[in-house]
Symmetry: D2
Subunit: 100 residues, 4 copies
């Protein structure tokens, strides 16, 4: 998947929307830094794995949020314009990759 | 899983081992910051989702690296000391959580 | 998720479509029976786990095939009828469950 | 992963153990047949996807049961015999494949 159907979402993200996603990502970034400290402090492996699982779950949540908005805006727009199949194929491909 | 069998790995991580894991995590941290920028630049949703998938895959890789070391040191030590079952149950629980 | 938006797909599956999905499922059914035999023959655990992974992968493939058709027919129809949001929420919910 | 370390588990499965796994697999086989009927009856896609998710979850459960027994018997035995690393590498490889 090297090329995408578009460069930008069909409906631009509002500042409020951007901020909501960025805030979640900042929290994830902080969690990743937290694990670095756990490793440096030589913390128990299982404790670290539980934290990694928490980050994976948080990332999945952001991903589904992005996918939902994408479907409600970009894919819906494509469907209404009679170009739904390409948009749906692209969506399914990325969800397959994402849900591995 | 609120309490773990130990606070630290049975064999302390060497500086080289710590550095290897921390380096991978720093790269992941950078990737998470990269997505924040993509959101702020209002980049295409599918492009963002592909990046999120890449981070998830990188996190899984670190997780399996930690799990492998854990099994080779902590779990192996527990097995040799006749306390393998509790260690294996703890390992399986965290892997279940991790592979969701 | 106890109630669904519909009882049937908006576009009925053709006999050819039904047969294609049923054939895949019959193959999966045969693989599940194959593992029963492996267990009865006391085959090596890792060998069994590899087969279970293969079935999981095959099931995911069928699932994505069903999800794709669903999006191209039912969800697309809902979007064109101005009822896209409910259909997309339902789709996202089931994909979340499915990709656990 | 074409060749495995062994052909059989180090401790043979008892009849009770075999029966427990086979019973779970028979239930899964029945669920797969149930989906075939749903497809033939042209049932709603999301309904089918929920059932596929249930089977995936049931398969994962059997897999973890097999992996746990494997670790408690075969891997533990290998560790006590000083051949732990190969057994742990094999275990991690199959769990990676399994948790995709």
């Amino acid at each position: 998947m090297d090329q995408f159907l578009h460069d930008q979402p069909i409906t631009p993200r509002t500042d409020v929307e951007k901020q909501a996603v960025v805030n979640r990502l900042k929290r994830i970034e902080g969690q990743v830094r937290g694990i670095q400290k756990m490793v440096e402090d030589d913390r128990y492996c299982v404790d670290i794995l539980v934290q990694i699982s928490a980050i994976s779950a948080a990332l999945k949540k952001v991903g589904f949020q992005v996918a939902e908005r994408h479907t409600k805006h970009c894919v819906s727009h494509a469907i209404k314009s009679g170009e739904g199949d390409a948009a749906i194929d692209e969506l399914m491909d990325v969800i397959k990759q994402f849900s591995k």
